[in-house]
């Protein structure tokens, strides 16, 4: 039997004092060794966590994202279209002050593109049954796009598609999410505030989707809800730390593929889109990597802001079709019940068919010349940041003529009506800018030759959107058969965010 003393020559053949001294030292050593055994794995774990998380900035909830700050980088697109079956579009970035970081990001992107094109068959369920070793690819394409480019974070989604001579098809989806400050990849954990359990939040969300899509039932996709026709082959136990994802302006997309074997995805990836709105005030992505006092980009461009579109949550939708006096009438309305009360009241009031419009239509119809007439009316509310636009679009068709009109009303989150002048900082000559946009639109759309530009300007109504202000005029006669408003938009970048009041609610 192995004796402990044989392992401890340090304790043998010495005086009592020496032995006591050695024993004390031995005990200290043992303590240190045991503590080391306990601590080393902890340190190792912590250091590995440190690798995954690039940010030391602690962000706690609640976090409000009133708007996003666009990264002023150039997205360089390289496209190879000469052989359509091997179409290749990849992007790199340009414009970071730190060229080493820029180079490392582009190197990493290139590496992902190469793996996506040239890599082995991805380990999808059943792939080696469906694509044998002798199968020849008949197409192999790659596409990529910058899905999110704000607040010093870039998210690039990469799509690979391969088909083979036995009609098998393989779809790949990869994502590269990077902190432009450091060039380090960011993880799902970095997207969320430090004091929230991001996995629980996302797992709860996915569970609801799975429930909705009757995912545990073996069936074809027609039981799915919208695009969420998810099928499980095993219980969903939750996502892992390495869950693939990419960001988009309104939220994040979880990539479900061979890395999530509990899902039946076939030979291609699918995505769960989760809006920031649904994730509530737990999302820290806009805060964590962005410091307005530090510029990491070349040039000293003014920052450009964008609003996050609101998700279609708590949705109210109605529609109606009827025929009145041989006029086919269709009306629909959709809005989020979370919209300000005044916006909902306005939308509901616009949903009613305007009797005057109907009477006017009846008067204009010449029964003998046209077999049918219609009145279509669409009302909807859309929210961006703290603003809600209520829009009514009306189209009348009669006697082979088409007349359409558009109405826009804008409300802030307290229900106050927002007027055009409210959008711009005092002293800014917005009329000249809008008039210029209107004239361009008239030129580009072959709009009528006879019009009064001042009348058109005075009829303008607007909507506050994610990236721009859109404008619509009263209906003008384009030709004998159609009357329609003129539509145009001015981006926040064109206007200059410093000239707008709508981004002044918080100094970022």
């Amino acid at each position: 039997m192995l004796k402990l003393s044989s392992l401890l020559p340090v304790l043998s053949s010495s005086t009592k004092e020496q032995r006591n001294d050695k024993l004390i030292k031995y005990r200290e050593c043992m303590k240190i060794a045991l503590i080391s055994l306990l601590i080393i794995p902890v340190i190792a774990t912590m250091s590995s966590c440190g690798d995954a998380s690039t940010s030391s900035k602690v962000i706690n909830s609640p976090v409000v994202i009133p708007y996003l700050v666009k990264n002023p980088i150039e997205v360089v697109t390289i496209e190879k279209t000469d052989v359509p079956e091997f179409y290749n579009r990849t992007i790199t970035i340009k414009g970071l002050l730190d060229k080493d970081v820029e180079q490392s990001i582009n190197d990493e992107l290139t590496s992902i593109y190469t793996k996506t094109i040239d890599g082995e068959l991805p380990p999808y369920r059943g792939i080696k049954q469906l694509i044998r070793e002798d199968a020849k690819p008949t197409s192999n394409t790659i596409d990529s796009n910058m899905s999110y480019n704000y607040n010093n974070v870039a998210s690039i989604a990469i799509y690979g598609n391969r088909s083979y001579d036995n009609n098998a098809y393989v779809g790949l989806m990869e994502a590269y999410n990077v902190d432009l400050n450091t060039g380090k990849q960011i993880t799902l954990k970095d997207v969320f505030a430090d004091d929230v359990d991001y996995k629980s939040i996302l797992n709860d969300y996915i569970s609801k989707l799975l429930m909705k899509s009757n995912s545990t039932d073996e069936s074809d996709n027609y039981f799915g809800v919208g695009s969420y026709a998810l099928k499980l082959v095993a219980p969903f136990k939750g996502i892992t730390d390495s869950q693939k994802f990419f960001l988009y302006p309104g939220g994040l997309a979880l990539i479900i593929d061979y890395s999530n074997p509990e899902f039946d995805t076939g030979l291609y990836a699918t995505t769960f889109y989760v809006t920031f709105q649904e994730l509530g005030d737990s999302v820290a992505i806009a805060e964590r990597f962005y410091d307005p006092s530090i510029n990491i980009f070349e040039g000293n461009k003014s920052p450009v802001f964008e609003f996050i579109p609101s998700a279609n949550l708590n949705w109210e939708q109605k529609q109606n079709s009827e025929t009145i006096d041989n006029i086919n009438i269709y009306q629909s309305i959709s809005y989020s019940k979370d919209s300000p009360d005044q916006a909902i009241i306005k939308a509901e009031s616009l949903y009613s068919i305007d009797v005057e419009v109907l009477a006017k239509l009846k008067d204009m119809i010449i029964p003998s010349t046209d077999s049918w007439s219609s009145l279509e009316q669409y009302v909807w509310a859309s929210s961006y940041g703290q603003y809600t636009n209520v829009t009514r679009n009306t189209s009348m068709y009669f006697n082979s003529k088409w007349i359409s009109s558009n109405e826009n009303y804008c409300f802030d989150n307290e229900g106050n009506v927002v007027e055009l002048a409210d959008i711009f900082v005092p002293g800014f000559d917005y009329k000249t800018r809008i008039m210029s946009g209107l004239k361009n639109a008239i030129k580009q759309t072959n709009a009528p030759s006879e019009y009064n530009i001042d009348n058109l300007y005075n009829s303008i109504q607007f909507s506050i959107n994610g990236m721009d202000l859109s404008f619509t005029t009263e209906a003008v006669k384009f030709d004998e058969a159609s009357n329609s408003p003129i539509y145009f938009a001015l981006t926040y970048e064109e206007i200059g965010c410093e000239n707008l009041t709508i981004f002044k609610m918080k100094d970022r």
Binding site: I32, D217, V225, L232, V233, P235
Partner: protein, 310 residues
């Protein structure tokens, strides 16, 4: 390590301590292993390569079983075995077996249509139950009702019992969710529970489908105190969020592996290995089934999340 060196101890002593520490670690690991009840295999597992493993098919729910089995018998990691195994869903798997495109399928019992197709093709199917399954009812964890009789469940879905008060719960209406017609769960519900009784119309909800059109769909189970829903045990036990729901006992028996396995839980079914009855006795398909029914095979099935058949 640097702490030890800074403390003035020589490398020899450090090595001894390191060996001691390592020994402790090994003893600890061995100790962990000793606690595991590993039964000796009672049957040697047949061995295949990816080229010799038979073409297996089956339902969606038996995919993890098939993958675990393939990994074991091909002696490769499950991540690799997964790439060689395709299940084409229950109906197609039966068709493939009848058409002799596969020799072994893992499925639920055949429908009347599938039996007729086999008969028409002159094929006799041999069904061998390989794992057990329970059909379970679930409610919100806060619901005071924890047990229902099978008759009470039928009465709820017939529409004869409409309030939880009638079955020992609060005075609130019962919202009895169902699944879409022709889905696997709904078929199981009708066959295993309703036994020919037609259920009342389920709650419906309006869903905005693609193209923005409104459609009526069977309402999905909402984890509310007044709701009752159902599922197969396999999916519910390890599912994320199952701490927020509870499974109901039926006729006083709680659904768990032991009660489903021994048959005391009353709503029970199985997943089957199905072969053509003329499959040779020593064929790879039969070797696989035989091993799956061995203690080791059943252990593997349990580790893959299923309930042992025996």
């Amino acid at each position: 390590m640097f702490v030890l060196l800074r403390g003035g101890y020589n490398m020899k002593k450090f090595k001894i301590l390191f060996i001691l520490s390592l020994l402790c670690l090994i003893i600890t690991l061995i100790g962990c292993g000793a606690g595991t009840d590993v039964k000796p295999p009672n049957m040697e597992a047949p061995s295949f390569t990816v080229d010799t493993y038979p073409v297996v098919d089956g339902s969606t729910v038996t995919i993890p079983l098939s993958e675990a089995l393939g990994a074991k018998l091909m002696n490769i990691p499950v991540e690799e075995a997964r790439q060689y195994i395709i299940h084409n869903k229950t109906h197609q798997a039966y068709l493939n077996l009848i058409d002799k495109k596969t020799d072994l399928i893992f499925v639920t019992s055949p429908s009347a249509e599938e039996l007729q197709l086999a008969k028409d093709a002159g094929i006799e199917l041999e069904l061998i139950p390989v794992v057990s399954e329970g059909f379970v009812f679930l409610t919100n964890k806060e619901n005071p009702v924890s047990d229902l009789s099978l008759q009470q469940i039928r009465d709820i879905y017939k529409g004869d019992i409409t309030n939880w008060l009638a079955i020992g719960g609060s005075d609130v209406p019962i919202i009895a969710y169902q699944r879409p017609v022709n889905s696997g769960s709904q078929t199981g519900f009708l066959d295993l529970v309703m036994n020919g009784i037609t259920p009342v119309d389920p709650p419906m909800e309006q869903i905005i489908a693609e193209m923005g059109a409104l459609i009526d769909a069977v309402a999905t189970y909402k984890n509310e105190p007044d709701a009752i829903g159902y599922s197969y045990f396999y999916f519910v036990t390890d599912m994320w969020g199952n701490d927020k729901v509870k499974l109901l006992s039926v006729d006083g028996v709680y659904p768990e592996k032991a009660t489903i396995q021994d048959g005391t839980y009353p709503i029970r079914t199985a997943y089957y290995a199905v072969v053509r009855s003329d499959e040779p006795q020593d064929s790879p398909a039969r070797q696989i089934i035989a091993w799956l029914l061995s203690d080791d095979g059943q252990q593997l099935a349990e580790e893959a999340g299923y309930v042992k058949i025996k």
